[in-house]
């Protein structure tokens, strides 16, 4: 009795103190994150809202006419040149994310399941090329794929072709190859992380129950690594649409992408509202495409299980 009586005051006191303590924990956390949060708010959210606002305005020589109009969107969506560029950009980014993920998966799988003690070293080895200058990597692909390039002279040296091929550079496939290379690490890392998280005893259980390697992979490993595949696709597909360096250096006439048009509107073209409308349209369409891809993959994974 006495012990309980003695025990209760501090307990009730603690309960009394607990609520303000919790509040202050939330307040402290919020205060601590607020500089970073404000930075993102002021330099990310506000600018994007400004772009959205501009997309409804009109360029009037050097000034901006702020009456609401949908004219920019009409141009962005119906003008054949922008429509074609947008469709081509979406197609390229779909191809790039497909190839990047398909080529990256076996590597992530190999490192996760057969990497042994050297997993860290493998990951380091894979990330190194991506820290070299992005411009120079694109330039290097130009050197490799060019008319007098490494690949052509190599193939001629081997006697496989008699004349340098012009089919390698300045087209869509050159853009796809370069971008597939550029995004490789961004696909390998998330897939690797999701493979690492798979409980290995599940695979043992499947083996014990008589599943072979292929069934085991299709019914356990692959569905459980879907989160990694999904984040790889998001991280590759959306930024790919916004690249204008690769198309400019290796794309030639057939490889021009929507980002080149956006860049032109903010540069020489100097039609900010149209550039803004193109940006918003591109963002919206690529987000929708990424969301659709993710939904398809998720439902496919559910069916496999």
């Amino acid at each position: 009795m006495t012990a309980a009586a003695e025990g209760s005051p501090p307990l009730s006191l603690r309960r009394h103190r607990r609520n303000p303590l919790l509040q202050s924990e939330a307040a402290q956390g919020f205060a601590l994150i607020s500089p970073t949060f404000l930075y993102a708010l002021v330099l990310l959210v506000v600018p994007i809202l400004v772009v959205v606002a501009h997309s409804f305005w009109t360029q009037n020589y050097l000034t901006i006419d702020r009456t609401f109009t949908l004219e920019n969107y009409r141009i962005a969506l119906t003008e054949p040149i922008y429509r074609d560029l947008l469709v081509r950009s979406l197609w390229i980014s779909l191809l790039v994310s497909f190839f990047t993920v398909v080529l990256a998966y076996p590597i992530a799988f190999y490192i996760s399941f057969h990497g042994g003690r050297h997993k860290g070293l493998w990951l380091f080895l894979i990330t190194i090329p991506f820290w070299t200058s992005y411009l120079l990597r694109v330039m290097s692909w130009k050197v490799i794929l060019g008319y007098n390039g490494v690949l052509n002279s190599g193939l001629m040296g081997l006697g496989l072709i008699s004349e340098p091929s012009t089919a390698l550079l300045y087209n869509t496939s050159a853009v796809v190859i370069t971008l597939t290379h550029a995004w490789a690490a961004f696909a390998i890392l998330p897939i690797f992380v999701s493979l690492e998280k798979i409980d290995r005893s599940l695979i043992e259980a499947a083996t014990d129950l008589g599943d072979g390697p292929l069934r085991r992979f299709l019914r356990i490993t692959l569905p459980l690594s879907v989160p990694g595949i999904v984040s790889a696709i998001l991280i590759v597909m959306i930024p790919t649409v916004g690249d204008f360096v690769t198309p400019k250096l290796v794309g030639g006439k057939d490889g021009v992408m929507i980002a080149n048009a956006i860049q032109a509107q903010f540069g020489k073209g100097a039609n900010w509202p149209l550039g803004a409308a193109l940006s918003v349209t591109t963002m919206a369409v690529v987000t929708a495409m990424a969301a659709a891809t993710v939904l398809i993959i998720r439902s496919a994974a559910r069916m496999a299980r």
């Binding site: 924990e25 939330a26 402290q28 956390g29 919020f30 601590l32 500089p35 970073t36 949060f37 930075y39 993102a40 330099l43 990310l44 600018p47 994007i48 772009v51 501009h54 076996p106 190999y110 490192i111 057969h114 860290g120 380091f124 894979i126 090329p129 820290w131 070299t132 200058s133 992005y134 411009l135 120079l136 330039m139 290097s140 050197v143 490799i144 007098n148 390039g149 002279s153 190599g154 290379h181 890392l189 690797f192 992380v193 072979g212 390697p213 998001l234 991280i235 959306i238 930024p239 790919t240 916004g242 204008f244 360096v245 860049q263 903010f266 900010w272 550039g275 803004a276 940006s279 963002m283």
Partner: protein, 273 residues
């Protein structure tokens, strides 16, 4: 079944090898053609020379661009790491409403097309009447670097045992004293690693710099200008080789420190986990 297993165990390492070759293919040509006497990059090499490297220090525009890039890189690394520390600490240590949403917002530049980030910042800067300069480039770079800093720092802070801090507080240290004497030494490697990673990103960042730079070019802007002239290619390749070596050294240090931090806090997750 054994056939498939054999196939896997034999072909997977071979595939890994081919894939690594693919990843390194564009990288190895930089140093190779940077010592070629001829300006056009093709095999066989015309001859070996270090001429292009000797020319580099005698190019004033390059020296200026390097200085600009170093200033931008150091500022961006410091700012993004400070902002990253605040966010990573708040996310790993405190629970508060909207934590996930705020984290998502801060990480968003990682999955947004960079050109859209760049043009939207450009619009705001011009609307506010700010003239474009290295400062605006730094602001853009910090936005791009924060997600990387935050990932590195969160993984450094996560495994960190909170009871150590509680013990320190119970023993009478102030909140600041605890941070300085207990928290900071544990997380220092993650902080240095975040500094190095964001510096390296800023050093190589092109798209933000392209839109937000004024009259002072950074290194990638300088390189972009040089790429138009075929005769300038060897010099650019030599410069690229030096940058490659520099980035490699910085990132090796960052990786070693990150691993040490991970070992110290018993956290085995990678930087992107």
């Amino acid at each position: 079944m054994t056939a498939i297993r054999n196939l896997l165990s034999r072909w997977l390492p071979a595939y890994a090898f081919v894939y690594i070759v693919f990843l390194y293919l564009p990288v190895v040509f930089l140093p190779i053609f940077s010592v070629n006497t001829s300006a056009s990059p093709k095999f066989p090499l015309a001859g070996l020379t270090l001429q292009w490297y000797r020319d580099l220090p005698n190019t004033p525009a390059l020296i200026d661009a390097t200085r600009n890039s170093l200033m931008v890189g150091v500022s961006a690394a410091l700012l993004s790491t400070i902002l990253g520390i605040c966010a990573a600490r708040a996310i790993t240590r405190y629970r508060f409403p909207g934590r996930r949403a705020i984290n998502g917002l801060i990480m968003a530049p990682l999955v947004l097309p960079e050109i859209i980030l760049a043009v939207s910042m450009l619009l705001v800067m011009l609307q506010l009447g700010l003239s474009l300069s290295l400062v605006t480039v730094v602001l853009g770079h910090v936005l791009v670097c924060i997600p990387y800093s935050l990932s590195v720092l969160t993984s450094g802070f996560e495994g960190f045992d909170r009871s150590l801090e509680e013990a320190s507080a119970d023993l009478g240290e102030t909140a600041f004293g605890t941070f300085r004497r207990v928290t900071l030494p544990m997380v220092a490697p993650a902080i240095i690693s975040s500094l190095l990673v964001s510096f390296t990103i800023s050093l190589d960042e092109f798209i933000m710099a392209f839109f937000l730079t004024g009259t002072e070019p950074t290194l990638p802007i300088y390189i972009w200008g040089q790429l138009r002239f075929a005769s300038k290619l060897p010099g650019v390749l030599a410069l690229g080789t030096l940058l490659l070596v520099g980035s490699f050294l910085l990132l090796t240090i960052a990786e070693v420190l990150r691993r040490r931090a991970a070992r110290r806090t018993q956290n085995t997750g990678g930087a992107f986990a």
